[in-house]
């Protein structure tokens, strides 16, 4: 009984450490907020195994994310954590949590939605696309037609 309780506490600690890792390119949100973190488990050999999924096939942040996770796990007492990347099921912006939507908007990035994004600054729905591609694989460039501010929006994917 005691062993099982200890294991469950240890697993909760592993989850907490992995969940808190921020996205290196969008530090306002965590990998859990973005749906990149898929699973955390404790292996028979005692090491933690963290499963992540890439947002885009070529997202260069994935390498840094894997390193950041290993470092965060180490700091939380899980040495030599294994970081595993899985492709299926394919990541979708539907996995962004409500917290991710709120934090992105607060950071000036319009959260993903079907149809034209609303301006994260003034809230206007009158916006236009400048470019389908932005500074990172997951964002596109838009401009608000009401306040005239350009802004980034999370692609709906």
């Amino acid at each position: 009984m005691v062993d099982r309780a200890a294991a469950s506490l240890r697993l909760a600690a592993a989850w907490a450490a992995a969940e808190a890792v921020p996205d290196p390119e969008l530090p306002a949100v965590t990998i859990a907020d973005l749906g990149i973190l898929r699973d955390v488990a404790l292996r028979a050999d005692g090491r933690a195994e963290v499963t992540i999924t890439p947002t885009y096939s070529g997202c260069p942040a994935m390498v840094v994310i894997a390193l950041d996770i290993a470092r965060a796990m180490e700091a939380a007492g899980f040495a030599d954590a294994v970081v595993r990347s899985v492709l299926a099921p394919a990541w979708t912006t539907d996995w962004l949590t409500p917290a991710a939507h709120r934090k992105l908007a607060e950071a000036g990035i319009a959260p993903p939605r079907r149809g034209p994004p609303a301006c994260p600054r003034c809230g206007s729905a009158e916006t236009e696309t400048i470019s389908e591609f932005g500074a990172t694989a997951c964002k596109a460039l838009h401009r608000c037609l009401s306040c005239r501010e350009p802004f980034e929006a999370f692609k709906c994917h």
Partner: protein
Amino acid sequence: MATTSIVVAETELVLALLRRADDALVLGHRLSEWTGRAPTLEEELALANIALDLIGQARALYQYAGELSGFDEDQLAYLRDAGAYRNCLLVEQPNGDFARTIVRQVFCTAFTDPFWRAAMGSADATLAAIAGKAAKETAYHLRHAGAWLVRLGDGTEESHRRTQEAVELLWPYVGELFEADAAEQAMIAAGVVPDPAALRDGWERVVAALLERATLRRPAEGWMQTGGRRGVHSEHLGILLAEMQVLQRTYPGAQW
């Protein structure tokens, strides 16, 4: 000095994977050549983003082909000569001007878009998973290329002329997209990869509609180039690989 090339035992599955991986890597490398010289900042970001997606798709395919053939993704990319590359000739054609790059992009993605969607139903679970990611990305790439084709074709007199020239120049390379040799046919019969020939009508419809909106002429049927899938390439691939592979060839196993 220079590292010896590897020889990959090409089972039917490994060959099918290398063909798609090489398409993605070579096209991704071509698009990366625009970095620092794209016509606008937005296009700089767009072409680099598409290149990253393609190289990412290539990595996933090489990792899988590598598991089956005993090599890693870097060895497959850096230590095969042009004659061992299995990409189609279209993707290795030089960037030319922006119009030519966009036309190549339209011709390629009008094929890969339905290809990856069909491959999501592959009997091979790993390939189906890779296809699931690639399909979403490719649909986005096709939208980008199609919008530019219309803008350039239906743009100024000069942009129209250059785009029409690019269509004529690259047209002889589209036939190869729909080829399947005996090894490919075996994988098609096993439900592992989609039959490219079955995608031809859809490709024709998408391309014809885009050309029409762009006020461009579809070239007449004629001689089609072939050879890439069995390693017979245009001179351009060797030059591309020389640049891409020089570091690993000179400093074997270098990492940073």
